[in-house]
Symmetry: C2
Subunit: 502 residues, 2 copies
């Protein structure tokens, strides 16, 4: 029989290495034993206001130690955490609270105004972090063990079409995610992981579980500040940092001709396909960028490049982690090597489904295989290349165009800082690709210059037909490009589009 | 829900790192991809002779690549491996084959004579490794996945009283053992583990699973040869070695004033409590000896000291691994810190029981807790100290005496190379402790000298009443001292007892 229960993770970690630092945040640092005591205390307070085993508890906060305590307090009660994106509108928050059937929400005091709007629109017991602090504790029967089958988290996905869906993640999902990552990246008692992504996204949240399971300090940041992160890597013993392309780009620019210290061993790059010029620049400078592919539904990473392959397979997201599997499907047939199709994954870190969405679950998870909706291929050696999110696919005159391919060419121009590509309706071709660029202030750039640079690199049908200059691109809280919003800007002639190149 | 199935481990490993070396043995080295192909080939041949899913297949061999292939071939068939101790008599082998209900035995050609005797006494289909090689393959339907609940191994325990019992170990037991060990010792792609213990014991066998799960080369040796092992640590990139006290002692003597290279990071010391002088000598020389406690029933380690505690808690076996728990019980009550009682453990690496022994299982495994029969205590910080195997307890005048305590004092004498202590019947005290020593050839030693050395260190009732000189101590295949045999020698006045000190 396989394992179903084990001692509470934070308890166990605090027994093993009580005095090791668990979290660095701003000027604060707390050890695993302190985190255990504080989380247990918080669990008691939550119980006092009525949170019970099985309660769906919404948590609405920016990155903070309070947030971390919540994640663990939940495990002492056996409640389920629904972590809300702080960038959402009140209406969107209300939707998630109701969809996930939350009776309670606890929130960051900084978000009180937004919370007031939420409370106007729904009946939920709300309590701020500071109000919780003041509560007098009543006796409490804590949960001693974790059951891997139990639900810990519901996280809403960005929602490609229709309403967002709540991804259910169990203790087992989080456990296997942490263990499988360790089997790929290795673990050492010198590891320290920097997180400047929101904890309400799986990329941030998953490091908290790694922290207690590995006994590893997390350097937590309220947001991504290139100076602070650079400084931490250079001088504070950080060994790992989780990034998306944009962050990696900025860090590399900040590094300039410098070099990272040798203890820095992994810049884990997720959140969508990365631009090749970035990876090549990093490879040249021996910066340990390790590409990975994952999503909320897979509790973060499920396919990751190994350090030893990082330079051999630039642009690949690697192979499925030890306990996981990955294949490419075209019309329910397995694709041949190098054939682009839908990325389909399986493994113990994969969600059992979306909360209360039996219809979607039946379509998305078939025989334990999750159909991701993303496009990619496996090369002849079995390495995954993510081509694009399928939903962003542009079909032009019958040809498939993946925006990320065009973006990765354009970003190679010195004059271009950021780029996003979408399809625009076209009466002749059905759709044509158009690009949105953020121009480096020290440059002027014309349409012809972009074409001159691009033409040798892309087939004619892939060349952007129009190029719009914007001052910034729409990104979600984890800094992922939101292409759907670009399409909306275009549709309504949004003022954020400064002008089109001629 | 927790994970039940995953891709076959060797397949997965060969996909991830096909060209990494899996096994070094004598002049040979084979990669994971080669090992995969060869193991699959062997699986086909075994199927041809009639081995099927669920078949109990006895494997009777010395350490070799053939043995390693067997361990994995079993997983491609879904058979169960019963690994036989090559030191056993034919009668003992027959007992285990019949008790485990094996229909097939495959054996090392070097063991043909012993095998003939076995075949005279039981009906079992036997096939030598070389005969298997010559078999023509028939079509074969391989098992693609492993189910963690399935049985992989039956290993017979040395047997303290009565007949030996077959410990059942599942894929899940082996998996969690490997993963839990990694969470304690860390894993790096530079790790290489040296095994000079028999693969038919769990200490050896478990490293084969670590090898495929971590992607780590194993340096396999036919037996423990201090010169060869020393050489491998010094010059062949070995990072870990599994040892028992005796081996550690010899290695340290061989090292003399030298130093191990920095890539050597773990001398994992199991197989019973270690003598303190040994540990102190190692600590002084900064040799990374890491004590561990485990047994066949726990798939090897279950309690292990961490590297950071190795020097702070000399003599302790550490704390229960991440997914495991350990407590001390006295008359079904949990002991207080520093109180000696029975060591009781729980965790996903613990066997579900002995094969066909419902009565013993009901007594030994209670609510998932394994009652080990070993004596020990937890200090106030929760570190385990193994006092002794309970079965070896000497009760003298109502006082409990643990042989290992006396042994660890005596081994501190320069003149003494090895020592074993047992209880001898005594009409006054019930039992008294007596010692068997192997004397260092460059020394002469008298009873009085031993007493002079010992008296300041041990309470009077613990002083050995007689000291016998022998040329070697009886040890089992994993070099564990067999105290029961010493008692037999004493009883029948065996010639191996050279003389008593006066």
């Amino acid at each position: 029989m396989s394992q179903e229960t084990m001692p509470n993770w934070l308890d166990k970690r605090a027994k093993l290495t009580p005095n090791r630092v668990a979290i660095y945040f701003e000027k604060e640092s707390i050890t695993f034993e302190q985190l255990r005591q504080q989380s247990l205390q918080l669990a008691k307070k939550l119980t006092t206001i009525g949170v019970r085993k099985g309660t769906h508890l919404a948590v609405y906060g920016h990155n903070s130690v309070d947030f971390v305590r919540c994640v663990h307090a939940i495990s002492y009660i056996g409640a389920v955490g629904v972590f809300l994106n702080t960038k959402l509108t009140a209406k969107e928050i209300v939707y998630q609270i109701e969809d996930a059937q939350c009776n309670y929400v606890i929130y960051d005091d900084a978000l009180i105004e937004q919370m007031e709007c939420v409370r106007d629109q729904t009946e939920v017991t709300a309590c701020s972090f500071s109000a919780l602090q003041r509560i007098t504790i009543t006796p409490f029967e804590r949960k001693e063990e974790v059951d891997l089958a139990d639900l810990h988290t519901i996280l809403y996905t960005s929602g490609t079409t229709g309403y967002p869906k709540g991804v259910m993640l169990s203790y087992g999902n989080h456990w296997w995610s942490a263990v499988s990552s360790a089997l790929n990246l290795g673990i050492s008692d010198k590891d320290e992981w920097l997180v400047a992504m929101p904890l309400f996204h799986v990329g941030g949240l998953s490091t908290l579980f790694k922290s207690v399971i590995y006994g590893m300090p997390v350097h937590l940041y309220a947001s991504f500040d290139v100076e602070a992160v650079h400084e931490a890597i250079m001088h504070q013993g950080v060994s790992h940092v989780s990034v998306v392309s944009l962050m990696a780009n900025r860090l590399l620019k900040r590094l300039g001709e410098g070099q990272y210290p040798s203890c820095f061993r992994c810049m884990l790059l997720g959140g969508g396909p990365a631009a090749k010029p970035l990876l090549e620049r990093a490879a040249m400078k021996q910066i340990p960028i390790i590409q990975t592919y994952g999503m909320t539904e897979t509790s973060s990473q499920i396919v990751t490049l190994s350090a030893e392959d990082a330079l051999k397979k630039i642009g690949s997201a690697g192979k499925a982690l030890f306990s996981a599997e990955c294949k490419i499907m075209i019309d329910y047939q397995e694709a041949r090597p190098n054939e682009v199709g839908e990325i389909v994954v399986k493994g113990p870190m994969v969600t059992k489904g979306y909360y209360n969405r039996p219809d979607v679950n039946a379509q998305t998870i078939i025989d334990g295989w999750l159909y991701t909706g993303d496009a990619g291929y496996l090369d002849e050696d079995g390495y995954l290349y993510v081509v694009d999110r399928r939903k962003d696919l542009i079909i032009s005159g019958g040809e498939n165009i993946y925006p990320a391919e065009i973006e990765s060419v354009l970003i190679g121009m010195e004059a271009i800082n950021e780029v996003g590509v979408i399809g625009q309706e076209d009466c002749k071709w059905g759709q044509v690709p158009v690009a949105f660029i953020v121009v480096n202030k020290s440059y002027e750039v014309t349409f012809d210059e972009v074409m001159e640079y691009t033409q040798p690199k892309l087939a004619k049908y892939k060349l952007p037909k129009r190029i719009y200059v914007v001052s910034s691109l729409p990104r979600n809280a984890s800094n992922k490009l939101m292409r759907r919003q670009l399409a909306e800007w275009l549709e309504r002639g949004d003022v954020r589009i400064e002008h089109a190149l001629d």
